[in-house]
Symmetry: C2
Subunit: 288 residues, 2 copies
């Protein structure tokens, strides 16, 4: 912060005066250098770069604010430094389709490169701290730092792979499997961020989860209740505990409702006997 006033104005990318109205609301005066940006994206930082050479501005968004809108002219990429968001697509009838739940380290706005207009909308689910990467400036940096360009390709490729996995999941899995995977994926991401991957709380509504997974909110709610009954997780509102991550990860589909009752009884029997710290996989095996 002390070095803030020592930086020449010309060296800072993104003049705040270019920002859309929403972005104005609340912006701290934080700046990050290229090294910090690379670390956030978990890509190798160019060794050749002077830390104070190029700085990227942070902007704060409050829950509910939009980072960018569909159709808005594209000129900057965004990195999430803290907070939680959703990206959505609005179809021709105005229905909202959730595409992703970005969080720390994720890159936003890539879909705007192609047509030079954002193809999706990013909305803060909590207060967020976002780093602005003016696209032009960033790619010209890539030309002087080869590793950076490679990293950019790599990040975009990763996004493509992620979406491929999403497509597979949507078209092949049952509702239970979708919800179970959603939870374990979230857990893994929290882990990577240094938080607990077993115990966390959801930042999104059942409605948003359902949209993301191609299910109705009722089905999401029922499925969470069922996984709770089975002892694989515990849920209370948005508070989640993954009790049997192994079973969750390998779950394909729940046994039919009648059989499920038996399993649930077996579970509660175990609970009553105070056996049940971590009986991982037992259920998973019981239900192919």
């Amino acid at each position: 912060m002390s070095n803030f006033s020592t930086i020449s104005q010309a060296s800072r990318f993104t003049d705040v005066s270019n920002l859309s109205d929403n972005a104005w609301r609340q912006h701290g005066s934080l700046w990050s250098n290229l090294r910090q940006v690379c670390e956030l994206l978990s890509i190798p930082a160019p060794v050749t770069v002077d830390d104070e050479d190029t700085l990227f501005q942070h902007v704060r968004f409050k829950a509910g604010q939009r980072i960018h809108r569909i159709g808005q002219a594209f000129d900057t990429l965004y990195i999430v430094n803290s907070g939680f968001l959703k990206t959505v697509h609005i179809d021709e009838y105005g229905n909202e389709q959730v595409l992703s739940f970005p969080m720390k380290g994720d890159l936003l706005g890539i879909d705007g490169i192609h047509k030079q207009h954002y193809a999706s909308e990013a909305i803060a689910l909590s207060d967020c701290d976002i780093i602005l990467l003016p696209y032009k400036a960033f790619t010209s940096l890539g030309r002087t730092h080869v590793e950076l360009e490679q990293a950019m390709f790599s990040v975009m490729s990763r996004e493509i792979v992620r979406e491929q996995m999403m497509i597979s999941m949507l078209s092949a899995l049952s509702a239970e499997a979708k919800v179970a995977r959603f939870l374990t994926n979230l857990g893994e991401r929290f882990n990577q961020m240094g938080y607990s991957g077993r115990s966390f709380n959801l930042r999104m509504t059942r409605q948003e989860i359902g949209s993301y997974l191609g299910l109705t909110l009722e089905t999401v709610s029922r499925t969470l209740s069922a996984l709770n009954e089975l002892g694989m997780i515990s849920v209370e509102q948005r508070e989640i505990n993954l009790l049997d991550p192994v079973a969750l990860k390998t779950l394909r589909r729940l046994p039919p409702a009648k059989a499920r009752i038996k399993v649930a009884e077996k579970v509660s029997a175990l609970v009553n006997k105070n056996l049940l710290p971590q009986w991982n996989g037992e259920l998973a095996a019981a239900m192919n």
Copy 2:
């Protein structure tokens, strides 16, 4: 072809001796220059480039052959010059999930950049002519030709947008709408390639369409029959005619089976009276 022998070996990317066994089978001796490659991808060609400076080799694949495999070390991108393919993902239980149906002008292998191993598998559905773009050489070209690097980002962004649309479609649409959109999308792509977008034949099985759309092959077959009954398309095996593209594009869901019979009767009445060259949209309106 005549200029083939005049090109110094050093200027040609991709020594054939590096290719996997499958790629060996049948390769013509065609080469394309950068200008041709850019045209195929419909991106602006760098003005600064010498046409004979850099050449990219073509390789021919027979129907059924694999262009690349999952897990195989990544080192080259592929452009489809002619022919039809599918890309698939194999899940942990060996089930095949179709991800896309690449054709002329499409870029393959992008998903390999991230982990330096292909994340999907590309298989020829017909005899294909594929251009090899050795990744390293191609990106280093991008460094000397700025427009090329931009174009690469643009193509990857386009792919991300395409997958986003796919996700929306998979999680929001009914079976009928999926199939209807699949057909109109195919038609539009054939149009762009200069073929008829109304009359074409499918290069893939019902099974593959179903996998792509998250449906069973039976549902695909039944839906095609239903659209045929309604006069929106005509189908016979893999021969498709789009009779009412407008209705197809806006179709959300078919009316319930009983109501459908009435509509079908109405249609056949029209047919019998020999009214029905192009009654576009009438049905679309009849079924919200």
